[in-house]
């Protein structure tokens, strides 16, 4: 029933935005604009084109980093999940990477990789890759053994077993890893714009904050979240499309 779920979504959106509007009107803080003010600021940013040039800037390291992380991350995750030796050697690295306080590391990265695209892509990758790798690896380890046995008995090559059994079976968890990775990538992109060189959306945030234009600042934050959500919805569509039978519905149905 798409209309019902759509209504539910609208309802919960209305509640949250309503609460925001009210909190802004109270106001909770002088630095907290209302929902409508923020939306107006967003519209202004969009109309004068600032928003789009900013995103053109922000999306470059983000898209590049996410792409690298997704491809490399899934490959490494598979490898780690399949080979005990590789697991032993490399999974600690990703645990380290995952817990690395990037915000603190950024100054060092700047020194190492300069202030250009490279270090921003690097930041996005460090953020996005570990969770993709680790999720993929654990999903691979949990593939139902009767299915791999079946594929082997029908002479699936190693590659076949991986592509046609292990990956689809692991796909829900891999996709949740991808989702996390991409969201972390967004964090990385924003962090690098806040901390390395304020360009793109990060620049809108810092600049409007420094001139106390909080509505624009919230508008920028809102737009990033919107973008991230749209992007991940797209990912979900892809997953549904690729692995339809995996969706077994709700237990209560």
């Amino acid at each position: 029933m798409p209309s019902r779920s759509f209504l539910l979504k609208m309802l919960s959106l209305a509640i949250v935005f309503g609460a925001w509007e009210i909190a802004g009107r109270v106001p909770v803080s002088y630095a907290f604009p209302t929902f409508l003010e923020s939306m107006r600021a967003l519209a202004l940013l969009a109309i004068d084109g600032t928003l789009f040039t900013a995103y053109a800037e922000t999306l470059r390291p983000l898209a590049l980093g996410v792409l690298i992380s997704a491809i490399l991350g899934i490959a490494l995750g598979l490898w780690i999940g399949l080979s005990a030796r590789f697991d032993w050697l490399f999974s600690p690295i990703f645990v380290v990477m995952q817990s690395a306080p990037l915000a603190a590391l950024i100054p060092l990265l700047v020194m190492a990789y300069g202030i250009g695209l490279t270090s921003k892509v690097f930041v996005v990758c460090i953020m996005a890759m570990p969770v993709i790798v680790l999720n993929t690896a654990s999903a691979v380890r949990n593939t139902p053994s009767s299915l791999t046995e079946m594929a082997r008995s029908f002479l699936g090559s190693r590659l076949d077993v991986i592509l046609k059994v292990i990956i689809p079976a692991a796909s829900p968890v891999i996709f949740s890893g991808l989702r996390l990775g991409i969201s972390a990538g967004f964090i990385g992109a924003i962090l690098s714009e806040l901390k390395i060189t304020p360009t793109g959306v990060g620049d809108i945030i810092t600049y409007s904050r420094s001139i106390a234009d909080y509505a624009s600042m919230y508008a920028a934050i809102f737009s990033i979240i919107l973008l991230a959500v749209l992007f991940l919805n797209l990912l979900e569509k892809l997953e549904l499309h690729l692995f339809r039978g995996n969706n077994r519905g709700y237990v209560t149905d």
Binding site: W88, S99, L180, I182, L191, I221, I224, I225, A228
Partner: protein
């Protein structure tokens, strides 16, 4: 990993990596990778100082409370979402939003709503951890074997019993891996919180050391942090291994 029939502990490869680090450090390729031995020397120097202990306790507190809250709220929520379509339809969009939202960008909002102190740091930590915990628990429940659920209902399981005896256990491998990832993310969250909200704990030390280019100090604190993340992740990995005997047979 076994060598000559001897099982190497999971993280022993770190020794190898430590060696690589030491060599790189000694070669003096860049000034921000000092030799590991120098880092450890500094670590022992600062580890007993009041400043360090204060940072440790502040960080551990925020981390502990944040993670506990994330697990205590996240696991049941995820299980319930996997079970109930209504709840899932209501909550999933938000879980996805927060999971995908660059939380760093949300930190300013948190500060406005929850203040500039420990509360916001704890909430940031919890926010870094909770969404993956929810989502993994949900995924675990979604792929549960229906017969088990029917069996439990048939034998008169109360909702609570079904929850604790079927859903939880059946989703446990996913839940544990979610908690593991969540906890590791929380390490990052606590530092980001400490850097972006108010500069306390390890965040303050990082800020101080990196601003003054005290590289050995910087890495020393980082190592403490890694050790923290590792021991927790290893503990959870150990638990995961304990349930792995049925993970592939569900």
């Amino acid at each position: 990993m076994t060598i000559f029939g001897f099982r190497l502990p999971g993280m022993s490869s770190l020794l190898l990596w430590g060696l690589v680090w030491e060599i790189v450090g000694r070669l003096g390729i860049t000034f921000f990778v000092p030799p590991l031995s120098a880092v450890f020397a500094t670590l022992f120097e600062i580890i007993g100082t009041p400043a360090f202990l204060k940072a440790l306790s502040e960080t551990a507190y925020a981390f502990g409370v944040g993670v506990t809250a994330a697990i205590a709220i996240g696991v049941p929520t995820g299980i319930l979402m996997g079970r109930s379509r209504l709840l899932d339809e209501l909550l999933l969009p938000w879980v996805n939003i927060f999971l995908s939202a660059p939380l760093t960008a949300l930190v300013p909002v948190l500060m406005v709503l929850f203040g500039f102190g420990m509360t916001s740091i704890i909430i940031t930590t919890a926010l870094f951890a909770i969404w993956i915990i929810i989502l993994n628990a949900r995924a675990g429940v979604m792929q549960i074997n229906r017969s088990l659920v029917e069996m439990a209902r048939c034998f008169g399981a109360s909702p609570l019993a079904a929850f604790t005896k079927i859903y939880f256990w059946s989703a446990l491998p996913e839940i544990l891996s979610g908690v593991r990832i969540g906890v590791i993310r929380a390490v990052k969250g606590v530092i980001i919180g400490q850097l972006l909200i108010s500069i306390v704990g390890f965040g303050a030390l990082f800020e101080l050391y990196s601003a003054n280019f005290l590289m050995t100090h910087f890495w020393a604190v980082l190592i403490v942090l890694f050790a923290m993340a590792f021991s927790i992740s290893e503990l959870l990995a150990y638990l995961e291994r304990r349930v792995s005997y049925y993970a592939a047979k569900r």
